[in-house]
Structures are given as C-alpha cells and as structure tokens.
Symmetry: D2
Subunit: 252 residues, 4 copies
C-alpha cells in the first residue's frame, strides 16, 4: 500500500521566503514547484529542483495566474488562449530546471485561484489542459476529484490523479471550506495525521457536517506556508508509515 | 555557398507590437525570439514559434535581462548565478512553444545590454554559457566574433557561430559603432544589401575608417524594429540569392 | 455651450507606443493618462503630463488593475482593500508628474476591465471611490451614467461627470455593445462627428435598436488607439466647434 | 541633544514579509518606506504609513531601481532621465499614502544599489536629486556624508542630512565595508548601542583599522531585515535615551 504526499514549494521570490523548503523536501514525495508567475524566481526554482531531484522527490509544475502582487490568489478573467499560453510558458521554464537537475516535470497542479477556477470552470480547465496536452499528453494533472479539470482530462485522455487535503475541512459536496471560514484549516498535527491515515487506508474523510466523503486519493496535500507546517507534515508522514503505508511519488 | 539571415522577432508584449513579425518570417532563416524578460509575452512567443516552424525558420532564444521597462537595453550588475538561472528559465519557456510547434530551440542569442555584456565581460559571458551548457551543450551560441562569449564557448566546447550586422557600422576593432553616434545605423536598403553580399562572398566588411574587417560570419543580422526593416531585409535576401548565395538556417 | 473631449493617452510602456499622444493632445481637452499598472512607464507619464500642461489639457488618472500583460482588459477578482490601495498608489504617482509640470490630477477615470467592473459591481466601484475620497474628495470621477460608481459617488458626495462614447455603439439600456460584436466600434469620422454633435446639442444618442438614449454627457470620449483615431478625433472637434460648441476641460 | 533613528520598513511584497514593521515602528523615529520598485506593495505602503503617522514616525521615501527580483540590490545602468522619472513616480505614490494617513513624505533615502550609486556616481546622484527637486525642493535627502549626492544637494540648494550606520563596519575612507566581507555587519546589540551612543555624543565612529571617523550624523540607521533587528534597534534606542539623547525625526 502506497500513497504520495505533496506540498507547495519554492514559493518565495528574490529575497523573500515563504515555507521552509529544505525541511519539507525531507518529508514530501512530490513538490509542487512555483514557476515564476505567482512566486518562484529562477534561482529558487533551480535550488528546489536540485534538492528535489537529489532526494527523489517528484517535481510538479505549480502553474498560476501572472500575479506576484496577489500571490495568484485572485481570479483573472482571461481568454482561454492566453491562459493556455501562460501555462505552457511556465511548464517549459520549470522543466529546464528539472532537467538540469537530472529529472523532469512529472505532473501539473494549478495554484490558488487557478486551482479554484479549474475546479469549477470548464473553460479555464480546458485551457490548462490544452497547455498540458501540448507540452506532454502523458503528463498527469493533480486536482480535486469531481472537478471540471478531472472531466476535461478524462475527455482528452490525459492522466488525472485525485488529491485530498489533510489539513483542510471539506464541505459535504467534496469542495473545500473556504479559507476565511471557521475551521477551514486544520492546524493540529494529530488531527491532520489521523485524517491522512484514514484517507490512505479507507479512501474516506469526514466532512464538516459529519458525513463521510469517498475520495480515494492518489496523493495527500499538506500546506507548507503555515506556522508549524513542517511538524504537521512530519506527523502525517509518520502516521502513514506507522500504518504500513509506503510513501512514494504518484507520478513518474 | 550558403548563409543564414537572422532578425529579432516577437518583441512585442501584450497589446504592444514592435516589428512586423509575419513579414520578417517570410524573409529570414533564423528568428531570435524574445523570451518574456525584455519583451515577448507567451501568446506572442507561441504565435511566432508556430509561424517559424511552419516556414522552416530556425527558432533561437533571444535571452535578456529581466527588464520590460527598459527593453533589456540597460546593463544590470547581477551575480553570475542569478543571470545563469534567468537565462535557463527563458530557454525552457521558449523551448516549450518551439516543441509545441513541432520544432525546438536551435540556438541562443543574448539581447541588447546582455549582448554587449557577454561581448566584453567574461563573468556575464560565463553565466550565459553556463545556462546554455546545462540546457543543452550542443546548442550553438550566436554572437560577435572575438567576443568574450566566443572565447567562453570555445573553452567549454559549446558551438559558437559568428554573426555580422548588415545594417550597423563597425569600428576598426570589430565592435559596433554605438547607436547614438552618427552613421551607426545603415538604413539604405541598397547599402545594406551590398554589405551583405560582400560579407557572404568575401567574409569582409568595411569599417568606419575605411579599413577592411575579416568576419567570415555564419549568419547575417538584420534589425526588425526600424522603419523600412522589412524592405531592407528583403533587399538583403534578394542581393544574396542574386549572387548565388543560398539562405538557410545556420543551426539545426 | 461647452463640452469636454477626452481620450486615453500615455498608453505605451518603455519602447512600446500605442496612440499618437502628441497629435491627440492637440485635439482633446482632457487626457486620461495611464498610471503604470496597465500601461504608462514613468518617462511616458512625465512627457504626456508636460505636453498636456503646456497646452491646457486637463490631466486625468486612468487607473487600472495591475496587468501589463493583459493591458488591464482582464477582470481581477481582488479584495476591495487591495484595489483601493492600488488606485491610491496610481493617483499619487501620476500627481507627482502633473505637479512637476505645473498642473495636477484633475479627475479619475478607470480603465478597461476596471471601467466595466465599476459600472456593474458596487464593491469594486466602492473601492475606487474610497481611494479617490482619501486622495481628494473634490476630485471628480468620469464614468458611465447610471453606473454603480455614479451611485457610489453620489452617496459619498464625490463629484461625478457622465461621459458618452462617440465611437462606440450603445445598447438600449445605455451600456456599450461589447467590443467583439458587430458594429460595436464606429470608425467612420463623419458618423462619429454627427453623433458627437447630437450628443453635445441634445444630450441624446441613438442605440443599436434605433431607440434614443438620454445621456447629457459632460464629456465625450474618443478612442486613441485605433487606426485613424487622430482623424476621427479631429473630425469630432471640428463638428463640435462648427456647431458652436466650445471645447474645454470638464474638471479643474 | 537629539538625534534621529531610521530603518527600512515596508519591504515586503504581497504575501511576503521581511522585517517586523510594527515592532520597528515602536522604536525608530524615521521610517524609510519602500515604494513598490524593490519592495512595497500598495497595501503594505498604506499600512506602514498609517502606523507611522499615528506614532509620530516620519515617513521617508526609500526609492529604488525597478527590481523586485533583485530587491534593488543590482546596479542598473539607466539613463539619468529614466532614473529621475522612476524616482519621481515613487515619491508621488508614497506621498499619496502618507497624506491619506494625515502626514506626508518628509525625506528621501535611496535604497540598495541606488544608495551605492548616488554615493559614487555624480550622474545617478544628479538624477535622483533632479526628481527630488521637481517633487519638492525643500525635501531633505538622507545619505552618506561626503557622497556625490551630498555634493549635488549642496549645489542645488536641497537640504542634505548625513546618516551613520550603527550596525555596519566602516572603512577608513568613510565608506561601508561591503556586505560580503568579514565583520561587515555588527549583530551584537551591545556593540551597536555603544557605537550609537558615541556617534550621537561625539559625532565619531571607529573604522575597521582602528582610526576614528568624524561623521556628525543627523540620523542613525539600524537595519530591520536581520535576525534580532528589533532587539538591536531597541538596545540602540535605550542606550541613546539613557545617555540623555532625545530621539526625534530629523525632518519635518
């Protein structure tokens, strides 16, 4: 029994840092590396790719809207053709660093507002998928099960892997409780670890109303940019291995 | 007898345009495509790559300092490691569009102030070369003969192709007369065509003091962003083919 | 009888140009000057302000979303507090150039997608108005009559001036026909001039269904970035003065 | 006996933070606020200005090269006219937030590579001064004594205030020991406090060779972006007040 553990990495820019990339690269099996549009200057991309490749962590392209000032958290209503070109640009840029490090981009995961957009909006989902297909039709997309991008991937024959969030609360319909709301984020390492173990072993997670959701994720996402993120991720990892679940990259 | 004809292309950004890309892509054999740092949004990069690939025009990466506001014409004193990462980022981004169009990046030519820097400064030349080598050590660099980057390429075993400018005046030492000075730019199509023919047939060009310079270029550069650029480029092409010189890409 | 004639100006960036600023500054009475977020580098802002001040053309702040790549034409879903801060930043930046030229910012007109947003969305309209009020509560806003920002201005006691577009088709509800649709843009100078004269003399314009709309504009907008824009603007000016309508800035 | 204590503030961008702005605003008397070119998004500028105004901390414009990726630490060889326009843009933008908070920009202090440039290069010093003069000729410039910008300010009749660095080592010629070198930065709060007290009481500081430099500063600079910065600044403040030196803004 195996599962993947993914986190957002390389989300600094120039002098600015967000997460403790080095520590997280010792815990996760897949790194969603920022590609320069919401975060991720070239030096940071290079360093994260080098460490990831060295440790056998799979490199994924965390593609985003062009929005450094808003960290990619603001929905931009842009034509599908422009979005597809922006995504392809980011894929190529990251792949250069991944290949220079002896690896390559193994999967794609949209970031922030684009993640939300491709979950709900078939046009923006189609644009991202169009870029992925032109870059490499065998490249898996990581996203929310039941999302528009999952449907688009299925239609286009592009591999799709469902992920579950161990530190975010779920609504009964399988969507995430929005960040602003009470209890949206789970910060207790023990609680997150328990959810991770249950998700890995049973494919289910409890929603905020107490109902049980079936997700069957190929990957579990931990957030890296919150205080205590490394401890939480380590607790999740330990709980999984302790339950006999091996951690390995879902892609490549 | 063959030679290559190269021009800077895709140097718009968003709504803004500079040269008549489509017309120039009907004249040149190599396109130095802007990669987003001094110009070149992803949609423009995609369109230029598609047309270039369709017409058999070789796609080169016109890498630059990160400087949209200054169009890459301002020297930036940055550490070599940061410059190398910036160049690698641009190479990867452009290659994604080139490959999506059925081609790939065939060569590298620094732009503007970076072109000047790698001509004179061994540190910045080394940084660019370091990026090229990590991207693909077989990728040729296009530049000024006798430049620092020519020396660095030779030392590293990376192919280097010398270019000559048909519409720029030369100093007796083989450097270009700076743009601000009188007679720096040759705008008369006939004069440019004559220089091109002589360069292709004899490998020589006349400097501003009347002396004769030996260049033996593998490629001739025409500028695309001046009024009458397309006419000048077309006159150069006609003069070359009329003299029995076949035009074809120097790389790939 | 007087009316104002406004156009978007200074919408280049670095080496890139859009409209013929100098020619338009000889025709209009109010210049909507780009402030650096969708267009308008500092050198351009400075030059346009200097010429405008010299010719008695009123300087308005053409504030926008932060979106050089999309020219401010893409709606960005950003929190009101962030939008208000972005607008205040732009107001201050432009005012420095206006004052250095011996004038000052006389009015505010949102650009592109932000213009559309403040027409329909009370939250974004409120954010722009909040910035205007903190900058100078006596600063008029120029916009579409019946818009959300007109209502917000009225509620806050900020002056509002309605504008009409002489080169855009209207729907019967007073909104503009979207740019993509047939007949959305009027390019014939004679037709635009006739609309301008009728608007100035009667306050009415014909909608696409033939119905007559009452607008009573304080300013008429001509677009500067279309081929023939200067000729169209000059034809409008001539038609107005020929009809005895004096052209002068609506603000200041 | 009084002196001013200044620090760089507001040097985050979007989600990214650098210093503990709120804590430092409880210690310093002058805040060098980043204006958006090397750091400082509009929301951050607004918040820092509001707190500074509330606490009686003077707001200074920390103007910079346009270089988010390099945090303004890379020298950019740009024409004086472009640099002057960039500085004026930043002055105006910050002033809008300062005025909205009930204050105004009280002084100018270049940042990073621009600080170094205006110390050594009369052309770039002249460009910055040109912008200051056009914005407000009574606005003081804060800089290194004996610098080119000090000379330019004297020639133009613009006030100039010399500053000393309590946490940086000096060469015997009054220049700072470059950051990369051994002992360039003083991190011990006690040592910094002792230097501050001596500077305030005697106008002198010890250079790295043991010689004594006469500076007679109007302001002491503490860095805010190093670990322990707040403690060091607080120790400096306590040492000064304990020695009977009152802390108050040098400008306005």
């Amino acid at each position: 029994m195996t599962i993947d553990l993914n986190a957002d990495l390389g989300e600094g820019f120039g002098v600015w840092r967000l997460a403790d990339d080095d520590a997280l690269l010792g815990v996760v099996t897949s790194a969603n590396v920022a590609c320069g549009f919401h975060a991720g200057d070239p030096v940071t991309m290079q360093r994260v790719c080098a460490v990831a490749a060295e440790r056998g962590v799979a490199i994924g392209a965390q593609v985003s809207y062009r929005d450094l000032a808003g960290f990619g958290r603001r929905r931009i209503d842009m034509p599908a053709s422009e979005l597809a070109a922006d995504v392809l640009y980011q894929l190529g840029a990251l792949d250069a660093f991944a290949r220079a490090a002896g690896s390559r981009v193994r999967y794609v995961k949209p970031h922030g507002a684009l993640y939300a957009a491709v979950t709900e909006d078939p046009v923006q989902a189609g644009a991202v998928l169009d870029a992925v297909r032109r870059f490499d039709p065998a490249l898996p997309v990581l996203g929310l099960p039941g999302s528009e991008i999952a449907a688009a991937a299925a239609a286009a024959g592009v591999p799709f892997t469902a992920e579950a969030f161990v530190d975010r609360a779920y609504r009964p319909d399988g969507r995430l409780v929005p960040r602003g709301e009470d209890g949206a984020v789970i910060t207790d390492p023990g609680a997150a670890a328990a959810r991770a173990r249950r998700l890995a072993l049973t494919g289910r997670v409890e929603a905020v109303d107490g109902s049980s959701l079936a997700i069957t994720p190929g990957s579990l996402c931990v957030h890296g940019d919150t205080p205590g993120a490394v401890e939480l991720a380590a607790a999740v990892r330990e709980a999984l291995t302790g339950a006999g679940v091996a951690l390995e990259p879902f892609a490549g």
